[in-house]
Symmetry: C2
Amino acid sequence: MRAEIVAVGTELLLGQIIDTNSALIASRLAEIGVDCYYQSRVGDNHARIVSSLRLALSRSDVVIVCGGLGPTQDDITRDAIAEVLGVPLDLNVSVLRTIESYFDRLGRQMPESNKRQALVPRGAEVVPQMKGTAPGLICNVGNKVLYAMPGVPYELEDMLDREVLLDLLKRKGTRETIRSLIVRTWGLSESKLSEILAPEIERLDATEDVTLAFFASRMQGLKVRATAKGRDEAEVNEKLEIEKAILESTLGDYIFGYDSDTMESIVGELLYDKGATLSVAESLTGGLLASKIVSHPGASRYFLGGVVSYAREAKREILGVRDLPVISSEVASDMAAGVSRLFSSDYGLSLTGVAGPDSQEGKEPGTVWIGISAKDDVFARQRFLGGDRERVRWYSAMSALDLLRLYLKESPRFYA
Amino acid sequence: MRAEIVAVGTELLLGQIIDTNSALIASRLAEIGVDCYYQSRVGDNHARIVSSLRLALSRSDVVIVCGGLGPTQDDITRDAIAEVLGVPLDLNVSVLRTIESYFDRLGRQMPESNKRQALVPRGAEVVPQMKGTAPGLICNVGNKVLYAMPGVPYELEDMLDREVLLDLLKRKGTRETIRSLIVRTWGLSESKLSEILAPEIERLDATEDVTLAFFASRMQGLKVRATAKGRDEAEVNEKLEIEKAILESTLGDYIFGYDSDTMESIVGELLYDKGATLSVAESLTGGLLASKIVSHPGASRYFLGGVVSYAREAKREILGVRDLPVISSEVASDMAAGVSRLFSSDYGLSLTGVAGPDSQEGKEPGTVWIGISAKDDVFARQRFLGGDRERVRWYSAMSALDLLRLYLKESPRFYA
């Protein structure tokens, strides 16, 4: 079974927006083992959309179209599909009601133009719109199938995961269901992670029920996505639970969270569970550590605030740091102790180091000290981080939160 | 003249990377007035690359291929082009020398595989590789043309701007050169900006020498890109100077910078020119304002540091803020004055407000007060910002820096 993606929109051809939808669809197709040999983009032009769809249907079994299902005169994917199928467009009353009730909830009158979105090529199945006003379409074309989804990325992702992939799996001849689990890690390089997981990937290759894929999500650590296929939800969930347990026993505390967890949400919930408060002192990160912490909603339950001590005098006068080399264990410890004293917080977390591009105090860019102060405990740990100024900062903030996480969890890795 | 883009790479079809090259090429084509009706992506498969190129050449005058010019066995774009042209591949000695000297500079031996990159379809013109090891190709196909460029984005951008667009302009029948100027604005909505510039765009439409395009760069304000064409550099530069003067007189202080300027670099240089220092106090932005400021290299010349006063007690005890509603002019003023006292800085800049999603003190999300303290001056200004929690924060930081910019420049808009 071969699939092909056609993205519709003149704004794509003009380079005004980048086509992320095709990559999303393609990665999901790869996960369920459907080949995708071609992807193309076409503008909002009736004749060219029609010819692109005909070409795609001539060489692929499955055609996934995205974009051009909006309410404006530019949105002509529906019309092009109807022409390719050789059928008229009918007004679908149930779709229309959903669109009307969408506007009702916003307390607004439905613009007349949105009525166009209720037009459905005769014979097509409708994929209900959950996030926006554009419904999706499933059209049988002989023994082939054409799916149409809206181009708004979060509407598309919802429809893809909720309906299209499942329908595709059904057509593939297997009555399968599919689900993924994202395992988020920090502290391992990509090569180290793949080395550790190599035996497990080899084992899984023989079963084909579960697959593992890596994603380097630049600033948020390495993700491992486990994807399971099975007869029904229960079977898939069980497979994922087993895989989760295997990954946990293999990767241990390098795993900091799952799915939509972030480092700051995990550390935040650990603090909240202890009923503890935190303040931070940072120099090289210049506020990034604090801003990461507050990006978790509910941070006000445990986060009191921070000091950005960029100048040396600020470290001394506001945080009571000793007059020693700034990139040092002592200064990191003093900063952590000083800020927790200033804010009267249970924990203090600090960062001092060299963001680069130049060395400082003879220390290379990427040299970072993380300080932690707790009730009867003040200490610092060193890290060497790679990358440019921006990366060193981001990695520093992540590393500081990760160290606090391991400390709060009393992880053996912390004491190693 | 119609162009078409073919991006080569199995990683694109698997959705492992997002195709940003096609959008870049498309936007440049649009700027020089070359239509682009189709874009497609194809994997590293000889037969399918050949058929994609043949299809593209059958319906377009200009085909731009990117990707598949690397040194590995997967990189087969060269071979596919040779087949389409019906010519053999020859080893180009000058290309080979350039690749060898590239490795020499790195102090490494050239891997044997890189020799493949010196293979050139007979009759093709070589575009010298300035940034990497893959040369570009210009191939005449009857009265049509096929360009091939490497898929590495910065290598591609370099080659596109340096050679391909100029070659394309020549073929278009004009011996033109082209340059762009980015004008960066803050404080106007997209609709307001386009309303203000409508007469100028209309005037330019009649001349065709200079075009204006808008870009909403999400978190960094609205950009206007002025692109000028002309016979030579001198003419193009003169046209851009004239256009710059027109935009300055039309947009005034809504323009904060040009090209790679950022809000923080502009404010930083204003402070540095005055020999003045700055500290910041922030609550809803949680460190983002400070981290934006330090992202300008050289911030240590004027930035002393900041306080993230997330908890109410921190505002009172560390900054000496009065016990009043937190989202208020008084608290913003007290924060600015308090932080400049604490850090002994010439200026203090503060932010207090509601990031959302919930209201606070009866104030809607997006309600923000910015405080500024200077020698004999402490005051605050209110802003109402749209968007979700993340946007409100980012816009708050930008708005605070923008207010300080207008104040430091003694802009009439500041006093309006």
